[in-house]
Amino acid sequence: MKVLVAVKRVVDYAVKIRVKPDKSGVETQNVKMSMNPFCEIALEEALRIKEAGLASEVVAVSMGSAQCVDTLRTGLAMGADRGIHVEATGALYPLTVAKVLKALVEVEKPRLIIMGKQAIDDDCNQTGQMVAGLLGWPQGTFASKVLLDREKQLATVEREVDGGLETLCLDLPAVITTDLRLNQPRYATLPNIMKAKSKVIKKYTPQELNVEIKSDLEVIEVTEPPKRKAGVIVSSVDELIDKLKNEAHVI
């Protein structure tokens, strides 16, 4: 069984985001870029499935600029067997990404797609659901535990929902999206970085996959959230009530 994992290159989680002066988007020039943390978790899960003998190959896919190859190299150094880079300039929206993934499924024929529940840059939380919809596969989103049954070709997915856990049973092939608590991703060790050097990254263009890059969305303006004002210390309960009433208008 082959597992396909989508990995996105995003502004590093620890970097303080700055909006471009012309408000057209977020500054990415000279900013540290890394693999989306949820994608790291997805890849880790795929590797564990393979190590448990339940999968034969883990293929990492990334879409976007030429530098996505760095993100794929990280994936290969973590242990993915192969990489696929779909080179595209310009913004990629969830529906386009989902269409590219669907096209790749036709080429690669995986039985399982694992991806992050969302990317930390646009926070869309749509791609996994859209791929499942386009492919007509069942989906287990926000997985906090995944169990595979090879005999029955089933995936049992635990998801954290309000007030408890929900357990789903999916027929393979399926799409799983990962939540934060699913696992703790491994580090890229030197021996694995060395091995990754000889692993293959195959390049596609969207045209080769017959996907047209377009979007019905247009970003009009990106702005920073309003700065939080410093708190004030009130001197009495009366003053507090007065402020809540007349300034905050909450009571």
């Binding site: 989680y13 620890a14 970097v15 303080k16 540290k32 760095d70 580090y187 060790t189 030197l190 970085i193």
Partner: protein, 574 residues
């Protein structure tokens, strides 16, 4: 989220009281000064009778300065005094045989003094609150404790000047205090010195985006400066595990080295100017911002590393390098010390212009961190390694830098210098590697009593000392070695089940003699403080120390600035 290592003492405050209870040592002079204070400042209305007249000779005869906190010494006395023990303060010394008496030429604080200070600083910046005093009287390791009854918090240079002028005329001894993270007992009073804390002088005065020149007040916390500069696209030329608490004034006064010295050099190079207040209240404005200035003696260097013994640093101008976009960090395991050493040589040669840190620690240090710090995990696959190395590179070109480091590491792995390693793939991973290295002092602190030595040694035989100490101490204590290998700086730490004279006798003066024999320094970066004031001759000649004493005498004739520290007691008492 980037987990920052903060050396705040809040973490340890729960164990604060218990730590002191069994670690107190005392001598007649502490008792004497404390009792006098109680007389004047007893908050709870109890009048304590000054004890020294009736007890002095008795105490003198029995005073023992060893640090096993003789139970036989205190309890009888305590019982005899009943409630009057209320204000007794205890303290312990870092070095064996430290016999130290309160300098009788110093005055003791009276209520007129307090009134004067309130006049200069305002009520709220003159602190006599017991709890707050307890905190500033004790050092980060909870090893040294003074019995000061007064904390002053000046907010301007002029106030510092007025305070010092007054103290000088009254012969009141003072201790300048920054973030109080110093590791040699320099930042806390020995007896009843007035504590002058710089924490309220924490403004950034000026930042020049073209030259990268930062001018700020001495009380700015290092980490705040780092974040301020980060927003401007610059970095501080120094970084250390205590960044969350230590202040730039403290860094300058200890000439702190830290984690990036290998790249940016020492503060003697990066500090371009200072403002300092002398004991007599004179303000020395040496706050230049020029890279080159050869007019006469460069006096600012006297204040860099003099640990508050020559003046109080009030402002600093410091050259800050631009922040480069690409930082890569590798966490490496080596089988033996020789491999670490050879790896360093190779790294200097092959990574030269991009190398920004080269740190090492042994498996004992690693175990401590994994056992005592929450949320820390070993990034390497489980396996026993004897040594760990952290290599950081910084440059302006992400892919070039990473490729270069990767190629270097892979070559070193092939040649057997590296047994295993991981390369951080994002900032989060990078900070988790740093957390391990920077967490070592904290882990040691949590493990129990420590004897700390901070030595400069030739790299090739640096670790032999650690091994010799292990043999000398056998099972009695854990010997841990780590440090800034790239700078030839070993932190030798002996983690003991309790403070114990037998252990200390095995360690001192052996460590100092060994260091001296190998032409090393007994203080690479922490300073001498109280702990090593008398040991200065292991690293400096008599002639040199004499000149130091003359300079001290010239700038601080009454010796009120941080007494009992830095210079040998034989030279500094009057």
């Amino acid at each position: 989220m980037m987990e920052k290592c903060r050396a705040t003492r809040r973490l340890f405050s729960h164990s604060f009281k218990s730590l002191f209870n069994h670690r107190s040592v005392s001598d007649h002079s502490t008792l004497r000064s404390a009792s006098v204070f109680t007389h004047h400042f007893s908050d709870n209305g109890q009048r304590c009778i000054p004890l020294f007249q009736l007890q002095k000779s008795d105490l003198l005869a029995r005073a023992s300065f060893s640090r096993d906190y003789k139970q036989t010494f205190w309890p009888p006395l305590g019982r005899g005094l009943g409630g009057m023990m209320c204000a007794l303060q205890f303290r312990s010394f870092g070095s064996a045989g430290t016999k130290i008496q309160r300098n009788p030429s110093f005055a003791t604080l009276n209520s007129d003094d307090v009134t004067y200070f309130k006049g200069v600083l305002g009520e709220k910046n003159v602190v006599q609150d017991e709890d707050r005093l307890e905190f500033v009287n004790a050092d980060w390791m909870h090893k040294y404790k003074g019995s000061s009854r007064l904390l002053l918090l000046p907010t301007t240079t002029d106030q510092v000047s007025q305070i010092l002028k007054y103290c000088n005329s009254r012969h009141l001894a003072v201790v300048p205090q920054g973030g109080n993270t110093g590791l040699v007992g320099g930042s806390v009073p020995v007896f009843d010195e007035v504590i002058i804390s710089m924490s309220s002088m924490n403004n950034i005065v000026d930042f020049d985006k073209v030259s990268g020149m930062l001018v700020c007040e001495a009380g700015c916390i290092l980490e705040n400066l780092i974040s301020f500069l980060d927003n401007q696209g610059f970095i501080m030329p120094l970084d250390l595990g205590a960044k969350g608490s230590c202040q730039i004034g403290g860094n300058v006064s200890t000439n702190a080295g830290g984690l990036r010295l290998i790249r940016h050099g020492s503060l003697h190079g990066n500090v371009l100017g200072l403002e300092a207040v002398l004991a007599n209240g004179n303000v020395l404005d040496m706050l230049g911002t020029l890279r080159k200035d050869n007019t006469g003696y460069d006096l600012k260097h006297l204040f860099i590393g003099s640990e508050g013994s020559l003046g109080i640093v009030t402002k600093v101008s410091i050259l800050t390098p631009p922040k480069l976009s690409s930082v890569n960090i590798a966490f490496i395991a080596c089988k033996d010390y020789l491999s670490c050493q050879r790896l360093l040589l190779e790294a200097k040669r092959k990574l030269g212009e991009i190398l920004s840190a080269f740190e090492f620690w042994d498996s004992e240090a690693m175990d401590l961190v994994l056992n005592h710090l929450e949320g820390v995990r070993n990034p390497l696959p489980p396996s026993v390694h004897n040594f760990y190395v952290l290599i950081e590179t910084t440059s302006s070109d992400e892919s070039y830098d990473k490729e270069k480091l990767e190629a270097f590491l892979l070559r070193s792995m092939e040649s057997g210098l590296i047994s295993d390693g991981v390369l951080a793939q994002d900032i989060n991973q990078a900070s988790s590697f740093w957390r391990i290295r920077e967490g070592i002092p904290e882990a040691l602190m949590r493990a129990g009593p420590i004897y700390k030595y901070d030595l400069s040694l030739p790299v090739e035989n640096m670790y032999n000392l650690v091994e010799e100490m292990r043999v000398r101490l056998a099972q009695k204590a854990k010997v841990v070695g780590y440090g800034h290998l790239g700078d030839g700086n070993l932190h030798l730490n002996i983690s003991a089940p309790q403070y114990d004279d037998m252990i200390l006798a095995q360690v001192e003066p052996y460590v100092y003699e060994w260091t001296s024999k190998h032409r090393g320094s007994i203080s690479a970066e922490h300073g001498l403080g109280l702990m090593k004031a008398n040991e200065i001759f292991y690293s400096k000649s008599h002639e040199t120390v004499q000149v130091m004493a003359s300079i001290k005498k010239l700038l601080d004739p009454n010796g009120i600035l941080n007494p009992y520290k830095v210079l040998p007691h034989s030279l500094s008492t009057h």
